[in-house]
Symmetry: C2
């Protein structure tokens, strides 16, 4: 069974659009883009288009590569104070002379649509509701729920421990009463951990999941996305091999990718 | 091999004492105790004695069971502002009419010697250095390090997902490059997870670890402490059984307990 993120994302975006149209105050997302990273420019453009499609106002602040950290922090503080702005997102990566953590920590937790500030991360870790869940993990959980996949009591293996995917999705699975094993480059015997799991979520950027799954109802979610040696978009999971033994599998593209943007728009539609 | 927390705690307290004597400003820990819980009174008394022994000034604010949440929050804010106070600790549990989370969130992260505020929890989760690590997990890591137990690359099983022990110790082990599986009441096949692990940390309050360990260098850390049916202090681990197969084991009492107080005093000696 294919976990169709493309189809679900359309449903969610429709709901977000309806929700936005019923709000008294139009949400306004500010996206800050520093420098000329062409991948970042595409991501920002896609976010703008998605926002427009659901009725969320968006503004892109484009700053030169050479911008000072001080200036960037000042801008964020202005947006924090500005009641017209309801969401702030700083597109990563940032140039090396800017301290990413300082930048993220400056965003008001109530406008932190990426859910990356310590306050939101901490709330998630403590088991409180954060103002925003990070987009990709939230999108993954939405996808599992759409297919009624039981999370409670499951053995979940998360591969990759980034702050953007691996660590927060582990927290969210834990809150749903999964037993979570968080794996990474130092993990021993990874294949054995993968094949015995009920749910595998891989967010590495390498063709790392390439084994037969032991359980026929197992679920494999592929968060990786990169180009193979032929320039073709692919994910962490050897789809042809793994799909023969797993019960559910998300494709790349068309799985977690579209869910991430739908989930981000869901966040951007929240007004605190 | 016994992980002797009692002996190590004495060494650490000696170091803290020396450190405090070299500080320009004497640290001042305020402990807030609400109501008449007799266990809490003993804990607070022990913290006071430990603080005195290492040269940390301590003040106990004792409030009646009936105190309003508002009054308690006001007091914490006063201590946050007071430059003479360097650490604030609210003894848990609190009466039911007071929102524990609100109370914890009110403490300034720079005076949060328990490491429980969202800011400190979030910093730990993101991989930044928090102002304070929670006392028990920090004490456990100190104990493992004292015996040169390799954490990197190990398979660690943490049982119990409290905000005080299980979740933060999982984070700290992950930062040291262990592969961590966080187990709890919904976990399937717990015994199998325990016996195949390199490191087991149990913080449940039930005699839950009672199997032969597969690996002869395995490490079992017992954080549980409760009274058995004969009124004797005991822990989560069946010591007689498990000590025959594990390489290292921490006793109860004399293991993690004294490390927690030493670790707390280490925190209380920090002045931001």
């Amino acid at each position: 069974m294919i976990l169709d993120g493309k189809a679900l994302s359309i449903k969610i975006l429709d709901k977000v659009k309806e929700r936005v149209s019923n709000l008294e105050k139009q949400p306004h997302l500010v996206v800050i883009l520093v420098g000329n990273n062409s991948a970042s420019e595409i991501y920002v453009k896609n976010k703008q288009i998605a926002a427009e499609n659901v009725g969320i106002k968006s503004t892109v602040l484009k700053l030169p590569e050479s911008v000072s950290e001080e200036f960037l922090l000042e801008k964020i503080k202005e947006y924090n104070e500005n009641p017209d702005v309801t969401g702030i997102l700083v597109q990563l990566p940032l140039p090396a002379h800017i301290d990413k953590n300082k930048v993220v920590m400056t965003i008001s937790p109530k406008k932190d649509v990426d859910g990356f500030t310590p306050e939101n991360v901490g709330r998630l870790a403590i088991g409180l509701t954060p103002y925003f869940y990070p987009a990709t993990p939230q999108g993954i959980i939405m996808l599992l729920d759409e297919y009624n996949i039981p999370i409670e009591g499951s053995d979940a293996v998360v591969i990759g421990r980034s702050n953007i995917v691996g660590k927060p999705v582990a927290q969210m699975l834990l809150q749903r009463n999964a037993t979570v094993t968080l794996c990474h480059s130092y993990t021993k015997d990874l294949e054995n951990k993968i094949k015995t799991a009920d749910i595998v979520i891989s967010a590495v950027g390498n063709k790392i999941v390439r084994c037969k799954m032991d359980k026929k109802n197992s679920v494999v979610v592929d968060v990786g996305i990169f180009r193979d040696s032929n320039g073709r978009l692919t994910g962490d999971v050897d789809f042809d091999l793994v799909s023969m033994s797993a019960g559910y599998i998300s494709p790349v593209p068309g799985g977690v990718g579209p869910m991430t943007i739908a989930s981000l728009m869901y966040n951007a539609s929240k007004v605190y």
